[in-house]
């Protein structure tokens, strides 16, 4: 059971890592996945800087959690993912944005997975 949870957590961490690196190395290819059109100037700088930082922070927290076996590392990732999902729903309710279920669902699922990890993966003494 714990091995399965660890593998799923590792998979999510690697996916976030790749997404963060794609934002740094090839933003034109990844931007459409988030419904974004790449801007220019400061706009492009913000898109690449903010998005890569978001995903690389997620990835590094998850990998630190797995490596150190300290569940406290999962909480920043859970917070980021949960607030992102809430933000998307508020954007739909308040600002006529699309209800992006294809993005909200993975965010909620991974947040739940990490929450389970804090409960079921034993912390190192």
């Amino acid at each position: 059971m714990t091995t399965a949870i660890r593998l799923l957590v590792l998979l999510s961490g690697v996916l976030f890592l790749v997404t963060g690196l794609r934002w740094l190395v090839a933003p034109a290819g990844v931007a459409p996945d988030f419904g974004l059109v790449l801007g220019s100037g400061i706009g492009l700088s913000s898109q690449i800087g903010d998005m890569s930082a978001f995903f690389l922070t997620l990835a590094l927290c998850i990998l630190m959690g797995l490596t150190t076996r300290r569940s406290i590392w999962y909480y920043p990732a859970i917070t980021l993912l949960s607030l992102t999902a809430i933000g998307r729903i508020l954007a739909w309710l308040l600002h006529d944005a699309a209800l992006a279920m294809n993005l909200i669902a993975p965010e909620v699922l991974v947040a739940l997975l990490l929450f389970f990890a804090t409960r079921y993966l034993p912390d190192r003494a």
Binding site: V14, L17, V18, L21, R22, V25, A26, A28, G29, V37, S40, A59, L63, M64, L66, T67, T68, R69, P122, R124, A125
Partner: protein, 604 residues
């Protein structure tokens, strides 16, 4: 007032007075009122460039394709029947806009086909160098409004977009080509179709069709400044008829059944018509290209499909002509037509790289990657990817040999029409040899602007090597180049040298035979009769002249085994794989220390 002043000064022959008043005088002695903005009577100039249009693809050059606007232009000026350009896109555009050899202008080949070994040379970057000045820059400095709407393909980095090369208003495609119906790339080399407007990334409108859109933008640009009386230079490089070959249904429908006779019949029919029009000598021969298939060996279904491919091509040519007609009508409605000179030509001969068999797996995989269809019913419409086969490409350049990329006449000889109501000669043909580098000096001459003499803007620049075609246009001369004037050419190892009526030509494999041949292209434009054994001295003299051209223009030897199609594929693959590989390597490098730390921790 301005015209009256010009008239008075011309009649009186007050050269000194004029020089004081205007500060300049053109080389042919005609007065230039360069600084007189009010009542400026210098001509407007519209430079129209078709993309991959073959020698006999328009009606005044023998085509069955209906091109009434271009026929009207041919009736209103001089049609050059012995005009040559580079056999590939960007080098031709570099020479067209600068009058400088493509090697010295930094564009000896399109960047997509450059070999890695050549990229170390400063002249082989595939983008327009800062050592050349465009005709637009010179005209803008002389008080012209300068506009561009269409394909640029001479670089998109800092200082390279047309908005930084003399064009006041632009909407430009930076890539080698793109879809004609929407903003999407046509080969996997590009992540997207890179359009720019006035130097900024640009999103195409939803109702885009390339030829209509580009003429609409040109009309908008011209209309926006008509009030200030300054002349304009409008550069209109169409996407038509570059791959993907696409056209509106109503234009395709006009050619239903026309090409059921097959490519050989079309090639022969165009030859006959070109002879009747006086475009080529009556006894011109034709060679059969190795890539031309046997029409009668195809089954009926395949013949039907091939005919549709060509019908879409013809529809795309006619659509371009239709929109050129709209531009002409607009200029008439604004009372500008009489004072506008038109130059129409193509960047190179017809494209022969379309697959002979459209069902081949490589082609189908590329279409699948790009999410394109190629079914019969929707061929050429939005979401459909079309080409013509090498066999119909041979018909498009009839009666010439080879096609785009090769140094045969089919790759290099294209239509050139210089037209305008104010020209002294109307509806005439000229078989004077002319080259793509001649266009810039000709435009400058028509506008009364001097080309740069080695320096511009305080820095050294390449000297224009092209020649002014105005004497031929006016009827003052039969030819511009003398019997001993040599014009050299090289592109990816395919090479030629023109001198007098003769041409030596070297075509590399796989289609060429990797040997120099000698032809008299005035009597034998079909390049059927190799004279290298009959005139060995002529061949040797021209080879020596070519060697001088190689040295003078820093032409690099081709890497061993270079093949332009393979190099394009390698460059595409490299572009496609570089980013995923880099991401994979970075991912592994980041994961590695975590893995090591994980393994080193004591387990509970």
């Amino acid at each position: 007032m301005g015209k009256f002043l010009t008239f008075l000064m011309s009649v009186a022959g007050c050269t000194v007075l004029c020089s004081v008043a205007t500060g300049s005088e053109s080389t042919d002695g005609h007065l230039n009122l360069l600084n007189l903005r009010e009542g400026d009577d210098r001509p407007n100039i519209v430079l129209i460039l078709a993309d991959d249009l073959g020698f006999s693809d328009i009606a005044p050059y023998g085509s069955e394709i209906n091109t009434p606007s271009l026929s009207a232009l041919a009736e209103a000026g001089v049609s050059f029947t012995n005009y040559h350009t580079a056999a590939n896109c960007a080098p031709a555009r570099a020479m067209l806009l600068t009058g400088v050899d493509a090697h010295l202008a930094g564009v000896p080949n399109i960047p997509e086909m450059l070999a890695p070994e050549q990229r170390y040379d400063a002249h082989y970057q595939g983008v327009l160098g800062s050592n050349v000045v465009t005709v637009a820059t010179l005209l803008e400095e002389a008080g012209y409004h300068t506009y561009m709407a269409g394909k640029w393909h001479l670089g998109s980095g800092p200082g390279l977009l047309p908005s930084q090369r003399g064009f006041e208003r632009t909407v430009a495609l930076a890539d080698s080509g793109a879809d004609n119906w929407e903003q999407r790339p046509y080969i996997p080399l590009y992540d997207k179709a890179n359009w720019y407007a006035d130097g900024e990334p640009y999103q195409l409108p939803g109702d885009f069709y390339s030829s209509r859109f580009l003429v609409d933008k040109t009309v908008d640009f011209i209309d926006s400044n008509l009030h200030d009386d300054a002349p304009f230079f409008a550069y209109l490089p169409f996407q038509a008829v570059h791959i993907p070959v696409q056209a509106p249904q109503e234009f395709i429908d006009s050619y239903r059944g026309i090409y059921d006779v097959g490519w050989n019949a079309v090639r022969e029919k165009r030859r006959t018509q070109a002879i009747a029009l006086g475009i080529i000598p009556a006894d011109v021969g034709m060679v059969g290209m190795a890539t031309t298939g046997d029409w009668h060996a195809l089954d009926a279904e395949r013949q039907r499909y091939e005919a549709k491919r060509m019908a879409v091509y013809a529809g795309m040519v006619e659509a371009m002509d239709h929109h050129i007609g709209r531009l002409m009508a607009f200029l008439k409605s604004r009372d500008q037509f009489e004072n506008t000179l038109f130059i129409f030509t193509s960047d190179n001969g017809a494209e022969g790289a379309g697959p002979a068999d459209p069902d081949n797996p490589i082609m189908q995989r590329q279409l699948s990657t790009l999410n394109y269809k190629s079914d019969y019913d929707t061929l050429g419409l939005k979401g459909s990817y079309n080409t013509i086969s090498p066999s119909f490409a041979s018909a498009a350049v009839s009666p010439l040999a080879y096609y785009k990329f090769y140094a045969g006449e089919g790759g290099m000889r294209v239509p050139l029409i210089v037209a305008g109501a104010s020209l002294p000669r109307q509806g005439v043909l000229s078989d004077a040899f002319s080259f793509v580098t001649d266009i810039t000096p000709t435009i400058l001459s028509l506008a009364g602007v001097e080309p740069p003499q080695g320096r511009h803007g305080g820095k050294p620049v390449e000297t224009v090597i092209g020649r002014d075609l105005s004497p031929v246009i006016r009827g003052d001369a039969e030819r511009i180049y003398g019997e001993h004037d040599a014009v050299g050419y090289e592109l990816a190892g395919n090479a030629a040298l023109f001198r007098g009526d003769y041409k030596i030509v070297y075509n590399r494999g796989p289609l060429g035979d990797d040997r120099w041949r000698l032809f008299n292209i005035k009597t034998d434009p079909g390049e059927t009769n190799d004279l290298s054994n009959d005139l060995p001295e002529q061949l040797q003299n021209m080879l020596a002249a070519y060697e001088r051209y190689v040295v003078d223009n820093h032409v690099l030897p081709m890497p061993v085994g270079y093949d332009h199609i393979k190099q394009l594929a390698i460059n595409m693959m490299r572009k496609q794989l570089t980013e995923p590989l880099l991401i994979a390597i970075l991912t592994l490098l980041i994961l590695l220390p975590f893995y090591v730390a994980y393994r080193m921790k004591p387990r509970q």
